[in-house]
């Protein structure tokens, strides 16, 4: 996994609640057997007409907004466990999703792909969305080391698991950790009621 550095970027606002992983990447685009290219179909049915023409009123088709940070309404990433949702966001170029609440499985999938889910308070989210709408050039800083999000003079700290933080900063994957634990896992198998 790529190391997660401090992100300073403009942001794309998506003030919709309960954005599910079927919207992030519809099931009919899950037929690939590699991890590549999912960004083309990110938010496919909100982004394109059925004939493939871009929907001009959708934020990803609006040149006013850009950046590596997606700011979305509460309960982002609910629904299916498809990691393709995280791959699509990463492939499109997002490094951070800011929301006031994340679905569990999405949060885990994001972290396993070097995307940082930043959970902020409802008030902070509203202020941030307003600021971006008012001035799309608003720069947002995501400082993982100090667990702080800031724009203009508005700061808030966010939580991140200490282990996952280490993984992100150093670019470690869980699998690296687990495959080095084989003897402990075998000892567990020998001692437990494993069936």
């Amino acid at each position: 996994m790529e190391k997660f550095e401090k992100v300073v970027s403009r942001a794309v606002p998506m003030p919709i609640e309960d954005i599910d992983t079927d919207q992030i990447i519809p099931a009919r685009f899950l037929k690939a057997t590699s991890r590549d290219g999912f960004g083309d179909n990110l938010f496919r049915d909100w982004r394109y007409e059925q004939n493939g023409n871009p929907k001009t009123d959708f934020v990803l088709n609006d040149n006013t907004f850009s950046g590596r940070i997606l700011v979305a309404g509460r309960n982002f990433g609910c629904g299916s466990s498809r990691e393709h949702a995280a791959w699509a966001l990463a492939d499109y170029g997002f490094k951070v999703v800011v929301s006031s609440f994340f679905a569990d499985i999405f949060k885990g999938n994001a972290l396993n792909n070097g995307i940082l889910p930043v959970q902020v308070s409802d008030e902070y989210l509203l202020g941030l969305l307003d600021a971006i709408q008012e001035n799309p050039e608003t720069e947002i800083t995501i400082d993982l080391v100090n667990q702080q999000i800031s724009y203009q003079d508005q700061k808030e700290t966010f939580k991140v698991n200490v282990y996952k933080k280490e993984c992100l900063i150093n670019g470690y994957d869980d699998i690296d950790y687990l495959i080095n634990m084989k003897s402990e896992i075998e000892a567990y198998e020998a001692s437990s009621l494993v069936v």
Partner: protein, 464 residues
């Protein structure tokens, strides 16, 4: 202080606890399918790793397969490639596979229980969020992403933070026409689509205890629709009787030994939960959803609400616009052109029996296309043995071959844009059953009555 059912099973599987409240959790069974496993096999190969415990894995294609003519080669090239990739990976790594045409093939969450792979006290995972289904047996079962599929393949373990615990108690006797699906849609409507996030749920109470295993699976299946990692029910005689004699279940003395262990798997009387809810069966009626997440459900005779509690009005309005419904209106009388009976939520033999029992001697409405997709080859064969296929066919229902089908619209079984579908599946998200499709989630009984009437009705007036 006593332990919860969840604590007992989780604690028995902790290999090691790490700093930061993360446990290395041992996984007893790993189910895989064609959609979320290919990149995990590639990851393993890229790292030069082999499967750590291949005998703890079972594979079946379900999400991306046709439900017609399964004996013929898959026509759609990308789907064929994905299914072929699963077959090739399983052959190469020597994983137990139930491919198309195999008598054990089916939706992964239907075959696990029916084959006796799902057992009380086990930890089970699958690259699919509805893995929560298996919790009906008192197992800890949850969905994972593909990176985690690779981790389990490589180590039989996952790094997991321990979820909080919630108990949902439902007591009392169910009213006529109210099924397990109505119970869970009712609960989700009360708690919202995010109400269970961060929790593992235990369902308890006299109503839950009175349910069959298949009905319990319907309840646990939809735990994820509240955001919960999983849901579980303490195993009892209903559970043990269901498991006894199944293909991979312990046999003879081993079964008796297992039962005596399984009997310890319940929440102790002094156990405390981080959150508790209690509901009364008497308050539950046949349910239907009107919006674009499973928390947007109402009693079928009630009106669409004007707003969603604390949710944003813009998101609520966007959802109703998509569905073509107005705040405050009743859904009764709305014409419905599509009925889908299937999915890991409601495609088991009891579901098919409920539908067949109602439609026997009746005919579907002319405007309706009614598709019924059994959850597995075993369910399909059982339905045929009981003559249900003839009853369904006479009523104008099309009985397909097993798969996930129109639950997620990955194959050609889709609902056309703008059309309404009363569906026994688990998600009513925008476009879930096809681009522009409008899904109304309901029980198999509501689906059956809708198919006959061609519109939404108060089903209780149609029951004998």
């Amino acid at each position: 202080m006593g332990k919860t059912l969840f604590d007992k099973v989780w604690d028995a599987h902790v290999v090691k606890s790490l700093e930061g409240d993360i446990d290395v959790l041992y996984i007893d069974r790993h189910l895989i399918h064609e959609v979320t496993s290919p990149q995990a096999f590639s990851e393993l190969e890229k790292r030069g790793l082999s499967l750590f415990r291949k005998e703890k894995m079972v594979a079946t294609p379900d999400h991306n397969i046709p439900t017609k003519d399964q004996h013929l080669p898959i026509k759609e090239a990308l789907s064929k490639h994905q299914v072929d990739t699963l077959l090739a990976n399983c052959a190469k790594h020597d994983v137990e596979l139930y491919g198309l045409g195999h008598p054990f093939q089916g939706i992964v969450h239907v075959i696990g229980p029916e084959l006796g792979i799902t057992l009380p006290g086990r930890t089970m995972v699958c690259g699919d969020s509805h893995t929560s289904t298996h919790g009906a047996f008192g197992a800890i079962a949850f969905g994972i992403g593909t990176s985690q599929v690779a981790q389990v393949m490589a180590s039989q373990c996952l790094l997991q933070s321990r979820p909080k615990t919630m108990r949902i108690t439902v007591d009392g006797e169910l009213k006529k026409g109210v099924l397990a699906k109505d119970i869970i849609l009712y609960i989700i409507a009360q708690l919202t689509a995010a109400g269970g996030t961060g929790y593992f749920i235990e369902y308890a109470g006299s109503t839950i205890q009175s349910l069959s295993m298949e009905a319990r699976m319907t309840i646990c299946n939809m735990s994820i629709e509240m955001g919960a990692r999983g849901g579980m029910i303490a195993p009892d005689d209903t559970t043990f009787n269901y498991i006894k004699g199944r293909e991979f279940a312990p046999k003879g003395e081993a079964f008796e030994e297992a039962v005596s262990y399984w009997k310890t798997l319940h929440s102790d009387s002094g156990a405390s939960f981080d959150k508790e809810y209690t509901f009364h069966a008497n308050d539950i009626e046949p349910m239907i959803t009107y919006g674009t997440n499973p928390g947007m459900g109402i009693k079928i005779t009630k009106e669409v609400p004007l707003s969603m509690g604390n949710g944003s009005q813009d998101s609520f309005n966007k959802s109703l616009d998509y569905m073509g419904f107005k705040p405050g209106e009743s859904l009764l009388g709305k014409p419905i052109n599509h009925v889908f009976i299937g999915s890991c939520t409601n495609s088991r033999i009891e579901d098919l029996r409920i539908v067949a029992d109602y439609v026997k001697g009746k005919k579907k409405a002319e405007n309706v296309t009614a598709m019924i997709v059994p959850g597995s080859k075993q369910v399909e064969q059982q339905a045929i043995a009981e003559g249900l296929h003839e009853v369904l066919s006479a009523a104008g229902f099309e009985l397909r071959e097993p798969g996930c089908s129109a639950c997620l619209g990955m194959n050609e079984d889709k609902v056309p844009a703008g059309e309404y579908c009363v569906s026994t599946s688990n998600r009513n998200f925008e476009g879930r059953q096809g681009p522009g499709a409008r899904t109304l989630l309901a029980s198999p009984l509501v689906a059956a009555v809708t198919a006959i009437e061609g519109k939404i009705v108060d089903i209780t007036k149609h029951l004998n």
